[in-house]
């Protein structure tokens, strides 16, 4: 599909994402100005506060966004999943340039002019409002302009906590190796940044007292600004807040299969008259934290992940024991129900190129041990850090690679097929395994624990929405590994719309 065709087909979704993006930037900058300008003013009055406060703002700006999201999700009011969390993070990142420029702008006002103002008998407030702020406004607007351009970029991360925006296309594009998605997301974000920059540049020029400008133009600029602010506020407040009575928030992790499993439940619930809030493609362990915090009702998970990453047990290999123990402990610790297994496993698949496997006659991971010293391996961050990941894996099979690269999981497949690396740890249900001619080495020493797909549901959600129970029992043992690979390929390989794929599948199953 050409980029142009892609745009034509996805025009309305792209516009929605652009709108979300603009709103996120707009509201966060508005809040950052409301907080940052007064803080900046205070700092010009109390010199001792200047160092510490600017220092804190500086440090806040360096916090990695995912770490900040992880910290915010369990918090009441400002936390949770979605827009609010993203806004808090964006405000935190926008404060520094606004505070700093407010301080600089005011301190740079000609001391003669300030002295004249005081000597004319202006009160402190009058000096600030009538002299210091108007004269500092050009510099303050520059700060807002810098903050806005930064925010347009940072907002792409908002997709990780389900707040939408153009990051949705960028993340999805990276995951599915789809250049059209990447280009649409990145290009739109870049154009937005340019537009915001030149627009605020115009506003900035209105506050320069060195160039001549007409009173009319100034009033016009002011009027436009006021309309924008009020319009934005009305638009923001006017959004309908959903009732929670017959509503289910369905979450997913940030990869195709998780989003697909979430979409299946979502469509089945909607067919039963339940309104569904989709919070898909959440990064890291955010879905778990959101489920426990009550901002999600359900999301798809794998028993092995719960067992090792969440419950912190040492990996074991018996599927029954793992399932039973996870079910028991989730009920006790989190008041969360574990559904019947869905019928397939998504375990780590140790993959090599098909031609290599055939040439060297490799069948198992043990076979590969002798080749390893010549090989470069590429692993996702997840595999490198978890208990059932790389350290135990390399020890069990006695593997020593020439080089181990940590990279984005979705990029490892393409890195393998293009000879950038020689062995990766992918997902067993990955749709691209057959299409890229990759070969899965058998786990002959049974190192990897079982990763049966299940849904995790809050117990209170099950009692609140009875339709949930019925949907989940229908899905027990309903999806085989082959079927899952095919579904994944429909989306990742053929770039089809997940909603269509799920609709088709449900129809074929007669659900």
């Amino acid at each position: 599909m050409s980029f142009w065709q892609f745009l034509q087909a996805n025009w309305s979704e792209l516009l929605l994402l652009v709108r979300q993006h603009i709103m996120l930037v707009f509201v966060s900058i508005l809040v950052a100005v409301i907080i940052g300008v007064p803080v900046g003013i205070i700092l010009t009055r109390y010199r001792v506060l200047r160092g510490p406060v600017l220092g804190i703002a500086n440090v806040m700006q360096t916090i990695p966004s995912l770490a900040l999201f992880g910290f915010l999700i369990p918090l009441p009011f400002i936390g949770g999943i979605g827009t609010r969390t993203a806004l808090v993070a964006l405000v935190v990142y926008s404060l520094l340039p606004i505070i700093r420029n407010t301080v600089t702008g005011i301190l740079n006002v000609d001391p003669n002019v300030r002295e004249a103002a005081v000597a004319m008998g202006m009160t402190g407030g009058q000096v600030l409002r009538q002299v210091e702020l108007p004269l500092a406004m050009g510099v303050i607007v520059t700060g807002i302009r810098v903050a806005t351009v930064i925010a347009v970029g940072v907002t792409t991360i908002a997709a990780a906590v389900g707040a939408g925006g153009l990051g949705v296309y960028i993340f999805r594009g990276l995951r599915q190796y789809d250049n059209n998605l990447l280009l649409a997301g990145a290009l739109s974000a870049a154009l937005l940044a340019l537009a915001a920059d030149s627009l605020l540049g115009l506003v900035e020029r209105q506050f320069s007292f060195e160039t001549k400008r007409s009173v009319v133009a100034r009033r016009l600029a002011l009027a436009v600004a006021v309309v924008l602010v009020i319009g934005g506020a009305v638009f923001w407040l006017g959004r309908s807040t959903p009732s929670t009575a017959n509503r289910i928030a369905v979450g997913s992790k940030d990869f195709t299969e998780s989003a697909l499993l979430a979409e299946i439940v979502a469509q089945m619930l909607e067919a039963r008259g339940v309104s569904v809030e989709r919070r898909f493609e959440l990064g890291g362990n955010l879905p778990h934290e959101a489920l426990v915090a009550g901002t999600l009702d359900l999301y798809p998970e794998y028993t092995g992940t719960s067992f090792t990453a969440i419950l912190q047990h040492t990996p074991i290999t018996d599927p029954r024991t793992v399932y039973d123990q996870v079910k028991q402990e989730y009920a006790d610790r989190f008041k969360v129900e574990v559904s019947q297994p869905l019928g397939f496993e998504n375990t780590f698949a140790i993959l090599v190129r098909g031609e290599e496997a055939r040439r060297l006659n490799l069948k198992t991971i043990s076979n590969a041990a002798t080749e390893a010293p010549r090989w470069r391996a590429g692993f996702g961050q997840d595999f490198m850090s978890r208990a059932d990941g790389y350290p135990g894996f390399s020890k069990t099979y006695g593997l020593k690679f020439a080089e181990v690269r940590e990279m984005d999981l979705s990029l490892t497949y393409i890195a393998l097929s293009s000879h950038q690396v020689d062995l990766i740890a992918g997902n067993s249900t990955e749709g691209r395994i057959p299409t890229l001619d990759l070969f899965q080495l058998a786990d002959d020493r049974r190192y990897f624990p079982p990763y049966e797909a299940v849904y995790l549901v809050r117990q209170d959600s099950l009692t609140r929405v009875p339709a949930l129970q019925e949907v989940l029992s229908k899905l027990a043992n309903a999806i085989s590994t082959d079927e899952m690979r095919r579904l994944n390929y429909e989306i990742d390989g053929k770039k089809r719309d997940p909603k269509e794929v799920v609709k088709e599948w449900l129809k074929g199953k007669g659900f």
Binding site: N112, V113, A116, L135
Partner: protein
Amino acid sequence: MGHEEAQKTLPLVQFHNVTYSLPNATIISDLNLTVERGETLVLLGESGCGKTTTLKLINRLLTPSSGEVQVEGKSTTAWDPIELRRRIGYVIQEGGLFPHFTIARNVGLVPALSGWDDARTNERVREMLNLVGLEPDQFAERYPRELSGGQRQRVGVARALAADPPLLLLDEPFGALDPLTRASLQREFAELATRLGKTAVLVTHDVREAMILGQRIGLMHKGQLLLLESPERFRASDHPQARAYLETLNVNGGEH
């Protein structure tokens, strides 16, 4: 009102044993000075002699470390600073005009701050601009950057006079102007001060300016008032500092 009448007989400004010092330097030491109603008193001295500090002690931009400055018989520290400053016109080099205000708004600033209604303020602005020789229709809506240095200085004087304050303080008001403009503004100001009967304290390092404008000249050096005389007696003084200034007058006509 009887209270205000009583105040009218007091000297406008009095310094009683005033010392002003910073942590590591004494700027003014033990200054005694009386400014009489209706006179223009010029403080003459080189940079750093404390003449500007003396001015700022009057409108309480600074307060004495010891001693007392009285305005209309009341210590500056007993005045509400805002009320005190609105009764004192203040003119600094280049006028200290607000670059983001029109000329009309600059001139009408103190009246507007004091709560005059728009009509009265506008009337006053036109009157003041006429007084300093600027055509209101031509200048009222312009911004300071569109005026020449001399015109800006005229606006500075108009602004200081706008609320009809009993006292004017002028800090090197003509210092940044070219010699010709300076000479004509000095003449005009001397005439204006006499006509309006304003009390004024003017600070300068230009002895020629002091001789033209001052009814009395106070010579300051290193934070002290060396002498305080009429221009005639100042010219005849045999104080070495005064002589040094007068020499420059003979050598190059007083222009620095």
